[in-house]
Amino acid sequence: MNVLDIAGLRLSVGDVPLLADVTVRVGRAETVGLVGESGSGKSLTSRAALGMFPRGARVTGHVTAAGVDVLAAGRGALRDLRRTRAAMVFQDPRASINPVRRVGDYLTEGLRASGVPAREAAARALDLLDQVGIRDPGRAVRRHPHEFSGGMLQRVVIAGALAAEPDLLLADEPTTALDVTTQAEVVALLKRLQRDRGTGMLFVTHDLDLAAAVCDRVYVMYAGRVVEEAPSAGLFRAPAHPYTRALLEASPSARGERAEIRAIRGRPRSLAEAPSGCSFRDRCPLADDACARKVPDIRPHGTSLVACLRPQEVTP
């Protein structure tokens, strides 16, 4: 059973299409990456898992998160899903926490709402802070968010996300605002907690190296569509989509042999701005007339599923 099943998701606001045919699955205890440049639709997709859509959005397709049919669910069922079975961690921890309330209250309110007695909730909060590596939890629960650094506060948010022991964790650029050493710690923490509890995680990031390091499987998004899906190892060793390869070639690396970086012409596009046919064709070095005719079907190539007419020219 998958903890997240998004299939054929289409989303538009007014007559502006934002997502087209997005399919993303996350299994139990699996870490799945959603990578791509800004505007490709990563955040819209991950928020869709919790039924969080832009105002006035028209949505079709299929979304099941932790057993809940999200597009059919009513308000109560969605609230219950978000409170107990699926949790979300965003880039900016300060946006998730009410600045005037104490950290202890932040951690206990969800537990209290789901019926845990006050004393037990308080004890759980201390335990959670300890698990995410916050020293002196007894003092920490009495503090306010501004008394924590960004990295420490992100730990608090993770503690809150894990309080209800969710089946599904959605992490949208959870370490982008952090220094590398702090990022490594926060990721280590997420992975450990996930391993211990068998949580499925959708890990959204623009950082390919991070996705390669953290994820079992990765979806690459471009202009509101998924253009490639593959196990991490395969994706980074043998990309099948020209965009995936171009991203890898454009990324400077601090380790290994020094390789020249190669720029991609043009700029990332949203679905509404993308050309007809293959969305990547105005930037793709392999594009020809056939690429303009229709959106390429997803098909297997190597270890990948890829939406490109000629993946064999990317990696034979």
Binding site: E37, Q183, A212, A233, F236, P252, S253, R255, A263, R267
Partner: protein, 297 residues
């Protein structure tokens, strides 16, 4: 074609020398005894985590911040004066690029007008000549005529950074100080800007001080690097050498923290604990600063 008034050609030697730079805010020391030498056409990286003093160092170089002590020497002349003449002279030799240049463009001017602005201050010639030079600069950084006629809000992040580079180049400076100049850009656009910067350096002999938290980017754009921690330089040397054979535990921690497929998170966590603050601080104090005036970096 108008040229900025020629700056006297200096005796061959460093274009920028920084010695014993200290910057305190109240009792807090943000920059603690930083020194380096930059030759014409060289590229020096300054890396470190947030709060290590990189931006403060850059701002002192650009004259945006007064050093508490220490000297900054540009093309053989110590630049300390705050007079209009001194500031203009410094601006002619050294320009700065920020992470997000949006705020530095006048929203009511077109990009081309903004790029022509420094020419009005620094170069003789008619408006027509300045406009022609601005068009040439926009072309040099790969911006279309249409982008030049747009207000800054209509440009993407990458286009705005190109415009900022064009404007900085207008006075033909000898040094460009870039503070996290590609940090906010998508990787495909970042690669375009890095490529542009490489071409400009090869083509004009301009020198860079490239401040960044990203070791991968620094590896590609610099020859030498300073690693800063708590305001101090803890390691310095040829970039490739430092990245391959880091000697200071802090540099090693930074490198181990970079994600990679064989990333051993448990090891990173252990390393971090093992090399906790005390151990690192001890190493800080023991790291001997390079002798003053040495040109290794």
């Amino acid at each position: 074609m108008t040229e900025p008034e020629p700056v006297p050609e200096p005796v061959p030697g460093p274009v920028l020398e920084v010695a014993s730079l200290v910057k305190r805010f109240g009792t807090f020391t943000a920059v603690d005894d930083v020194g380096f030498t930059l030759m014409p056409g060289a590229s020096l990286g300054i890396v470190g985590e947030s709060g290590s003093g990189k931006t403060t160092t850059a701002r002192v170089l650009a004259g945006l911040e007064e050093p508490t002590s220490g000297t900054v020497t540009l093309a053989g002349e110590t630049v300390t004066g705050r007079s209009r003449r001194d500031r203009l002279r410094r601006a002619r030799l050294l320009q700065m690029i920020f992470q997000d240049p949006y705020g530095s463009f006048d929203p009511r001017q077109t990009i081309a007008e903004s790029v022509a602005e420094p020419l009005r201050l620094h170069a003789p010639g008619s408006r027509k000549q300045h406009r022609a030079r601005a068009a040439e600069l926009l072309d040099q950084v790969g911006l279309s005529r249409r982008a030049g006629q747009s207000p800054p809000r209509d440009l993407s992040g990458g286009q705005r950074q190109r415009a900022a580079i064009a404007r900085a180049l207008a006075v033909r400076p000898r040094v460009l100080v870039l503070d996290e100049a590609v940090a906010a850009l998508d990787v495909s656009i970042q690669a375009q800007i890095l490529t542009l910067l490489e071409e400009l350096r090869a083509g004009t002999g301009i020198a860079y001080v490239f401040v960044s938290h990203d070791l991968g980017v620094v590896r590609h754009i610099t020859d030498e690097v300073l690693v800063m921690r708590h305001g101090r330089v803890v390691e310095r040397g040829a970039t490739e050498h430092v990245l391959r054979t880091p000697r200071h535990p802090y540099t090693r921690l930074l490198l181990d923290s970079i994600p990679s497929p064989d990333w051993d998170l448990d090891r990173v966590a252990r390393d971090r604990v093992a090399r906790d603050r005390r151990a690192l601080d001890l190493a800080d104090r023991q790291a001997t600063p390079a002798p003053k005036g040495e040109t290794t970096c």
